[in-house]
Amino acid sequence: MNEIRLTLPLDKAAIAKLNAGDGVLLSGQMLVFRDAGHKRLFQSIQNGKPDFDYVGETIYFMGPCPAVGDQVLGSCGPTTSGRMDKYTPYMFDHGLVAQVGKGKRSPECIDAIARNGGVYFAAIGGAGALYSDTVTAVEELYYHDLGTEAVRRITVKDFPAIVAIDSKGRCIYKD
């Protein structure tokens, strides 16, 4: 497979050229958080004072292992995206550009990605050691008490993934 090299943050013009099934290599910065981080962010949004902003960002659903040896970040493959489906349409409607995770998404998520010209990438589940080798920097930003589920910003180089839902709402997964 000939992977398409993409630089983060992504612009909508670059996203528009992607088709479901394309292989990509992502380089640049992503925000990282998963179940508990989303739950707490949405509580803050409902209280009218969001804890942080995600406009223009790519969010990766992941909770890492501790770093061992010469790792910058421990093993760090994707977690199941479907558990974040309930938050996803709102986030794309309010400026989120892309998500990275694993597995199928709800029809509401696919619609939200399409109407906003966004994209959903599937990383390879279980490939934690391989993804660790793509991380060049990490910073823990918010919700430190959540441990592995804290909000982090990571910098990656040549992070492999597949376009799972493209900006037209086409999906790699069969029903």
């Binding site: 497979m1 099934g21 790792q71 199941t80 597995g103 589940g125 934690g128 050691a129 080798d133 997964y173």
Partner: protein
């Protein structure tokens, strides 16, 4: 009477956790490599290549294969002629989990408060008394992307085995990409609600490529594997011919009113090890 101190069991469990978190079970890795070599759908082949590459990096560099280092499940089969000394078995195994997970992800928390235990303890420990003077310890680090896709059905007898087969296949189909396929499928048939679920987990310790000693179950496993691999879910849900690396079935007599069916799904990185402690020392199965 053969005496074993539970600290010896703890040492083996701790060593196993450290080893298998970094090394996919060998028959599972071989099956993944075979699937990669056969796969013709580009995205699925890409996924299988990355899975094999990942296993290689993890083993060589000593990194955990997957960041979900799971919840530690331990089956102890205790020979009736063995006397355990030292700490309570659960406490000894929990010590092993605390040590073994020191540099792994802590994923275990209170289900009500969602407060993390901070150590990945406690383990889920099942103990059976068996014949003999050995202790057999089966250790698995079970990820929950796949655990969440598992299911149990209490069928009525009129529905029968055909409905059971359809439900097993449908469970894997509906799980789709979520449990990190290609998956390993453990099936329990019969018993009671809780025994059926337990059998489906125990079945996941079978080696890929091994045959069921019961010829009827062996045929059933072959049929289910073929049906699941024709679903087209494929590696990571990207399509292709390998949705399951293996299907393993255990059974137990059940009640005239019921047909319990449990389906426990394991991801493509099986992290499992079986240890036997006996008079002649320790061996691995």
């Amino acid at each position: 009477m053969f005496e074993i101190d539970t600290s010896q069991i703890a040492a083996q469990v701790c060593g196993a956790i450290k080893e298998i978190s970094r090394n996919i079970e060998p028959t599972c890795l071989a099956a993944l490599q075979n699937a990669r070599d056969r796969e013709t759908v580009p995205a699925a082949r890409f996924a299988l290549e990355k899975m094999c590459e990942n296993a290689d990096i993890a083993a060589k560099k000593g990194y955990p294969v997957c960041q979900d280092t799971g919840m530690c499940v331990v089956f102890v089969e205790l020979g009736k002629d063995v006397r355990l000394t030292g700490k309570l078995l659960q406490d000894a195994v929990d010590d092993a989990v605390r040590d073994g997970y020191a540099d792994l992800r802590k994923s275990v928390l209170d289900p009500v408060t969602r407060v993390n235990t901070g150590t990945n303890a406690p383990a889920v420990l099942h103990t059976d008394i068996v014949d003999g003077d050995e202790v057999k310890i089966s250790v698995m680090l079970k990820g929950f992307g796949s655990e969440n896709m598992s299911a149990i059905y209490m069928l009525n007898p009129a529905q029968g085995l055909e409905t059971a087969k359809d439900l097993i296949v449908a469970t894997v189909k509906n799980a789709a990409s979520n449990p990190c396929p290609p998956v390993i499928v453990g099936v329990g048939l019969g018993g009671t609600f809780e025994l059926c679920a337990k059998m489906s987990k125990q079945a996941l310790f079978r080696k890929i490529g091994s045959h069921n000693p019961d010829p009827v179950l062996d045929d059933l496993e072959r049929e289910l594997t073929e049906r699941i691999n024709s679903l087209g879910v494929g590696a990571q849900g990207f399509g292709g011919g390998t949705t399951a690396l293996g299907v393993f079935v255990r059974k137990y007599p059940t009640h005239i009113s019921s047909l319990p069916v449990a389906v426990n799904i394991l991801c493509h990185c099986s992290r499992a090890k079986v240890i036997v402690i006996g008079k002649e020392g320790v061996r691995y199965e």
